[in-house]
């Protein structure tokens, strides 16, 4: 397992991560402590709301609201660049014309064969 190689959908396990064993400077420990402090604060807020006996409504999660808002409003920050225009054309415009052309020519060819009587109607599924 020592020659484990990462892939886009397979991350390195924590026990093989060199950061666990080597990069343990005081700055990183302080950073981890600061992250823990932020996390503890959020936990405290949530627990206060959760265990409040006078609470009648659902607990609203601002992070969830922000995520939904960000996913629902991408066009507010959209800018037509080379990449975005190319992607828009490739996914929106090209399939329209390409599929029309493909289906039309295939159907026309089949119609010609039917009219000429050369269409072979086989029962086999694999051709």
């Amino acid at each position: 397992m020592a020659d484990y190689r990462e892939a886009p959908l397979a991350t390195r396990p924590k026990t093989l991560d060199p950061n666990e064993y080597f990069n343990l400077s005081p700055e990183q420990r302080r950073a981890e402590e600061a992250r823990g402090a932020v996390r503890a604060n959020l936990k405290r807020q949530y627990q206060l709301q959760l265990n409040n006996p006078h609470r009648k409504e659902l607990i609203e999660d601002p992070a969830l609201t922000r995520w939904v808002y960000a996913r629902a409003n991408p066009y507010a920050h959209f800018r037509p660049t080379n990449k975005t225009s190319l992607l828009g054309a490739m996914f929106g415009v090209v399939p329209l014309f390409a599929l029309y052309y493909i289906f039309k020519t295939d159907r026309d060819r089949k119609e010609e064969q039917i009219k000429a009587g050369t269409l072979e109607r086989k029962f086999s599924l694999s051709s």
Binding site: A7, P13, V38, K43, P62, A63, R66, W67, S126
Partner: protein, 202 residues
């Protein structure tokens, strides 16, 4: 309009009519033009305020610090998506890791999602839930898995193609009937002698 507010007895008021009347009045006094005048110019006071919702890409360090605070992250950890017009704004770029990778034994606020309340969500959070895409370490290297899967599929496809080209089945022949091909049973004349049909050779 005013009378409906001071009504003492139980008279049913058409609230839809009240709302429509108020909307028409606001429209006539409104400053906007076109479609924006038809839509309401203000948002409800419930929900988050404008400064705690995602905004445009942060350009100055102060904007970055404010955005990091907004998303409950440290300023050093906060990294927005690159500003190339793809619609991310100032949303933070979190590591591409699925929820399956997170510690199953920690007391999460939402255990099925393995997430705490208020934690910034990944842009593709709905893709990285435990029912869907999983990025946890694989027991066998990825290349080995790919080779095994596609090797097997390719081999089976090739063999099926070969089987179509060169079919192999038991030898068959047309069915042989006795009594001169069932001359009497098929309605032939009993007096007439049927032609001799020989199915064998000794």
């Amino acid at each position: 309009m005013r009378t409906s507010e001071y009504v003492k007895q139980q008279q049913p008021v058409n609230m839809a009519g009240v709302g429509f009347r108020r909307w028409a009045q606001a429209l006539s006094k409104g400053k906007g033009s076109g479609i924006s005048a038809l839509l309401s110019g203000c948002r409800a006071a419930s929900g988050l305020s404008k400064d705690s919702l995602p905004g445009p890409y942060p350009k100055t360090p102060e904007e970055r610090a404010a955005a990091a605070k907004k998303y409950n992250m440290r300023v050093e950890d906060y990294e927005p998506y690159p500003d190339n017009g793809e619609g991310f704004g100032d949303y933070p770029k979190l590591p591409e890791r699925s929820q399956q990778e997170r510690d199953p034994w920690y007391q999460w606020d939402h255990p099925d999602l393995r997430r705490n309340w208020g934690e910034p969500m990944h842009w593709d959070f709905d893709m990285y839930i435990r029912n869907r895409v999983d990025t946890s370490p694989s027991p066998v290297p990825w290349s080995t898995m790919c080779k095994q899967l596609f090797g097997f599929i390719g081999f089976m496809l090739f063999m099926f193609y070969v089987g179509e080209k060169f079919p192999a089945y038991q030898p068959v022949a047309p069915k042989q009937y006795p009594f001169n091909d069932l001359h009497l049973e098929k309605g032939g004349d009993p007096e007439k002698q049927a032609e001799e049909v020989k199915h064998y050779e000794i």
